[in-house]
């Protein structure tokens, strides 16, 4: 009888959980892209063992040669072996991509978190500033910065690209921080006397990390592409420093002689690397659970 008192009328029917088919660990992950990217990175890291020629040696007898058995990818207009240059130069291209991303992410996280934690008027001011910063054409900014830093080196170029590409990440960080800045754990940490950077690294960063992961990977690819564009236009690295971009700066001469290998091969490597990065980035962006379409 006592049980009647506890009888529930509208019990929610318990959904039967269909045991999901166990997924293989590689399913839903861009394994092909990861494999290709690893291959390229490995090749660049171990360039010394792969290279068949000295990439900086200018073989004046064999300049502008089409690919053949001796020069696997041909030689450029200065007589350097392209096959060796690809691996040797890829190293610098990848370093620039990584380094400038580290720089831009650091700036973005600090500015974004600061802006998110700041009072409304300061926040508004900082956001306006980033907008104005965005409105200066980045190419112009890069030229000016390059002029200030003097002759372009790997470090200075990564710095310049990093400094000009932090705004979009900063905006995302700011929105995320604004959402969680009044959470109990942040207030508690503040009450216990945690400094700005302590709160940032210990409490805020783990929360927005996944949100910016995608953009960070995208930044690597943008950085590599800007390096190539800049070097191609003659504002980036000089021809002596071999990268995929500076290899393409010989393209004008190559066009006149119709030597396709000088243009196509470094470009293809760049595009494939960037494509792999994009695929990995897309996979990182957690697929929002889409409901069934109403249509």
């Amino acid at each position: 009888m006592t049980e009647r008192a506890f009888e529930l009328t509208g019990i929610r029917s318990i959904q039967e959980t269909v045991p999901e088919k166990k997924k293989k660990w590689y399913q839903g992950k861009p394994m092909v892209s990861v494999a290709i990217l690893l291959l390229i990175v490995l090749g660049c890291v171990c360039a010394e063992w792969i290279m068949t020629k000295d990439p900086t040696y200018m073989d004046l007898l064999n300049y502008n040669k089409a690919p053949d058995r001796e020069f696997l990818f041909g030689t450029d207009t200065m007589g350097r072996d392209i096959f060796s240059m690809i691996w040797y130069g890829g190293r610098i291209s990848l370093i620039i991509g990584g380094l400038s991303t580290v720089i831009s992410t650091l700036i973005a996280v600090i500015v974004g978190a600061f802006s998110g934690m700041a009072p409304a008027w300061l926040d508004e001011a900082i956001m306006r500033f980033t907008e104005i910063f965005l409105s200066v054409p980045s190419l112009l900014l890069i030229i000016l910065l390059q002029a200030i830093m003097g002759k372009a080196t790997v470090l200075s170029l990564s710095f310049v690209i990093g400094v000009t590409s932090w705004t979009s990440i900063a905006k995302v960080v700011r929105t995320e921080v604004r959402q969680i800045r009044n959470s109990e754990f942040v207030i508690a940490s503040r009450c216990m006397g945690g400094g700005f950077f302590h709160i940032l690294w210990k409490h805020l960063a783990p929360n927005f990390f996944s949100a910016i992961m995608f953009m960070v990977i995208m930044n690597v690819r943008t950085a590599m592409m800007s390096e190539a564009t800049l070097s191609f236009m003659g504002i980036g690295l000089p021809v002596e420093i071999i990268t995929w971009g500076s290899m393409l700066s010989l393209a004008e001469k190559a066009l006149m002689t119709g030597s396709w290998w000088i243009i196509l091969i470094p470009g293809l490597f760049l595009v494939v690397t960037v494509l792999c990065l994009t695929n990995i980035g897309n996979a990182c962006r957690q697929q929002a659970n889409r409901r069934e379409s109403n249509l």
Binding site: A120, E124, R128, E131, I132, L134, S135, V136, P137, L139, L140, I143, L144, A147, I148, R178, N182, R221, M225, A228, T229, F232, M233, I235, L248, A251, L255, G258, W260, I263, L264, G267, L270, V271, V274, L275, T278, N279, N282, R290, R291, E292, S293, N294, L295
Partner: protein, 334 residues
Amino acid sequence: MKQKKMAYYGKKVLIFLFSVLILSITVFYVARLAPGDPLVSYYGERSEKMSPEEREWAMEKLGLNEPISVQYVKWVKNALHGNFGISFKYKQDVTEVIGGRIGNTLLLGGIGFLCIFAGSLLLGIVCAWQEDKMADRILCKLGTISSCIPEFWIALVLILIFSVNLKLLPSSGAYSTGNAGNIGDRALHLVMPLTIVILEHLWYYAYMIRNKILEEVRVDYVLLAKAKGLNKKKIMFHHCIRNVMPAYLSIMAIAVPHVLGGTYVVESVFSYPGIGALSYESARYHDYNLLMLLCMMSGILVIFCNIVSQTINEQIDPRMRAEEITEQSEVVEQ
């Protein structure tokens, strides 16, 4: 109500003017503080052989030896009277130098923008219509690939194919010599630069609108419309797309400066005489007056488009209004 509206637009104008002021000061100072010799652009090679007295005289003549703040005030005064000074390199009024070239850029950017505007809308709708089917997947893959190709490289490849090997299209300039007035010739020169401008941006915006439509399709009213018996086509075009349009317009407002700015690299690869190549030159050779005007033009365009897009957003969706959001959040805080 009317007063409130006036205040609203007044505030927008004030923000615009303030942003322009800050931008002009920043560009002015940065350009002048950047190391380099502005005399090179005026006197060319000769400037290296000048004696100190001659240099002094030249700097005086160009008005470059005063403190930067004084120069800036002078520049603003002249600029407000419509006098932007002369270009050091071309020894002409800057407005004339730019006027001779801006048409080319506007033609390239304008047609490009229109194509992107229509094309991405179309592509987005097609993708959303065929969601997760074969066509959508193929288009998405192709789009991702196209977004990964640096524009200068695809330009080179196109030149290699169409100019060097097939000899179909010209590889540089806006018209062949002596054919300045020939429309067909100009169109032929536009084909490749235009293709690249479009390819470079198309997917970015198409993908955006695809996702917007996909979000819209999952809202409840669609279910209602379907229950009422409307067919897919009608729901899509009469309801969903109409709801997405304002957001799309605001995105496209921001896209204007992006597309125009995106012509920089293309212009330099094709040696197309537009203002992209001009800004690059002016920044490189310290042609201050030219640089200033070009920066102000592009900066004003960016700021203006941003404000327009913000206004569109706020008009559609009052929740977007920044001050109300902060007010709300302050209420929550209290």
